[in-house]
């Protein structure tokens, strides 16, 4: 038995997790871009304004990482998760600009037990991250593995 709040059994179709709120600062954008994605539009205000993104904007991989942290804090760290095999689809819908405050939801769209590992199940989520103007900036669908709370029980 687990002391975690969220196990496979709890993740029924239609369940929605609120991902809280997180502001992406200029300093954080510069730090991430400096290490992983040192393109002018992620490092320099002027270059950002002249780019298609219209301002100093976070690397898309940074937005993904912030989204990951929001999921961790909202439910993953208090769950039986054993990681994810991948991301079926992810769209960067709008740029994330310095100072933007992000929020969002993760919604269970389907789930199934694993034949190869009866103590686990794969839960597919639809994720939407929005900015303070309620515009979707990131949309994604992906499966995440969770242990069952009680693998012996009939479902």
């Amino acid at each position: 038995m687990t002391s975690k709040r969220w196990a496979y059994e709890d993740l029924t179709e239609g369940r929605v997790f609120d991902l809280g709120s997180r502001t992406v600062s200029r300093e954080e954008i510069l730090e991430f871009a400096g290490e992983f994605d040192a393109q002018p539009m992620h490092l320099d205000e002027e270059a950002g304004l002249k780019s298609l993104l219209g301002g100093l904007s976070a690397s898309g991989w940074h937005t993904c990482s912030v989204f990951m942290r929001m999921m961790c804090d909202a439910f993953l760290l208090d769950s039986t998760t054993e990681g994810s095999p991948g991301i079926a689809e992810l769209r960067w819908r709008k740029p994330v600009l310095a100072g933007d405050t992000l929020g969002g939801t993760s919604t269970v769209v389907s789930r199934r037990r694993l034949k190869s590992r009866p103590e686990m199940g794969l839960v597919t989520f639809r994720h939407v991250i929005r900015n303070q103007r309620n515009e979707a900036v990131l949309e994604s669908e992906n499966p995440i593995l969770f242990r069952l709370r009680d693998p012996g029980a009939a479902e």
Partner: protein
């Protein structure tokens, strides 16, 4: 030179190799993905991964670092016109974290450009399709994905 030659359409380019240290795995995870199997050796031993491993997003971000390095240094352009410049990407699909990237693993990153076509909505821009990959020292794929990216061609 043709855009096909510039992008090396159909060829798999090696972008570079990176050794993931336990320290950097934990540093990235502490900020963005503090699941126990990315932050703590002991907890990782009890997880299905068996050992401390990098956040999947850390592997993706590192792919981007080496992709940029390649783009800036290795890709030659001798005209006509100014060197084409890459813009933003609308997203990716079929991203698979096929194997864990463990502390101490040396990962080699690859990129294959598949096609490019004009972008009807933005004159002067083209859409380029890429396949990204990453392999460990045993040549096992640890990451793959399909990505499209904008390219400005004057």
């Amino acid at each position: 030179m043709s855009l096909d030659a510039f992008l090396r359409i159909g060829e798999t380019a090696t972008l570079g190799s990176h050794t993931f240290t336990a320290e950097e795995i934990k540093r990235f995870a502490a900020k963005y993905d503090p699941q126990p199997f990315h932050t703590d050796e002991e907890a990782a031993r009890k997880s299905i991964f068996g050992r401390l491993c990098a956040s999947g997003w850390h592997t993706c971000a590192m792919w981007m670092r080496y992709n940029l390095k390649y783009r800036e240094q290795a890709a030659r352009w001798d005209g006509p016109g100014p060197r084409p410049t890459f813009g933003p990407s609308p997203g990716f699909s079929n991203l698979k974290w096929l194997k864990p990237v463990y502390a101490g693993d040396t990962i080699t990153f690859t990129r294959t450009a598949l096609w490019h076509r004009p972008l009807a909505s933005r004159p002067g821009w083209r859409l380029v399709s890429l396949r990204g990959g990453a392999f460990n020292a045993n040549n096992e794929a640890v990451l793959e994905f399909e990505n499209v990216i904008l390219l400005k061609v004057e």
